[in-house]
């Protein structure tokens, strides 16, 4: 099993990239930018945020196993927020593709920034405080 501290550093770096990417995409689908900017945001999403999300999933599971965290109560709750954030990112990716094709995105995606912020705050709180 790789070094636990190294895994955590990699996990948190990937998580930081996901946070940046999801917030960027949130504001993009909530208030669509001009075509050139949309294209660069989509490139960032495809080559940085998407792979970072995959890395967060894999590294998170390895950390959970090596630290025996799966028996803790806070981890399943955190995973629910990870699932929400992952689904939100999927919706944002689909929404940005629609925007690129000149189509409108569903109105509920304007709440994206709020859903992202609440999920990120909950994940950070649960992972750092491990309250139960």
């Amino acid at each position: 099993m790789p070094d636990y501290t190294l895994l955590k550093i990699l996990h948190m770096t990937a998580a930081a990239l996901v946070i940046i990417g999801v917030l960027l995409s949130s504001f993009t689908v909530a208030k669509p930018p001009a075509a050139a900017r949309l294209a660069s945001i989509r490139r960032w999403d495809r080559f940085v945020t998407g792979p970072a999300l995959g890395a967060v999933w894999i590294l998170g599971i390895i950390i959970g196993l090596s630290g025996n965290w799966f028996s803790s109560g806070w981890l399943p709750v955190k995973l629910v927020f990870v699932l929400i954030l992952s689904a939100l990112h999927g919706m944002q990716t689909g929404g940005m593709r629609r925007l690129a094709q000149g189509e409108a995105v569903p109105a509920f995606l304007r709440f994206s920034p709020y859903i992202a912020l609440v999920s990120i705050a909950a994940i950070v709180l649960l992972a750092s405080a491990k309250p139960f």
Partner: protein, 90 residues
């Protein structure tokens, strides 16, 4: 849609193996390794499946009910594959 079928197959298969092979092996024979391998694999497959359903639901303008049914089907072994049969082929 092809990618969704592949991810759904991995998700469903890993769920079945986890429930009917790995978990009984752990509790009846004391062999924990299959759970340690299949558990994470299924977890990642489930996340990937839900993310993909969410993306396609917006991208292809699915009715909300269809998207929720497909996402919830991931909670049942092979449920996702059965739910996918209700979709148009391409």
């Amino acid at each position: 849609m092809r990618l969704l079928r592949i991810v759904a197959l991995i998700e469903g298969l890993s769920f079945l193996l986890l429930l009917f092979v790995a978990v009984p092996l752990k509790h009846l024979a004391g062999i924990a390794e299959p759970v340690l391998i299949l558990g994470p694999l299924h977890g990642i497959a489930f996340l990937a499946y839900v993310r993909l359903v969410s993306r396609l639901a917006i991208e292809q303008d699915w009715p909300r009910r269809r998207a929720l049914r497909l996402a919830a089907a991931g909670l049942i072994p092979f449920g996702a594959l059965f739910a996918l049969r209700s979709l148009p082929s391409e």
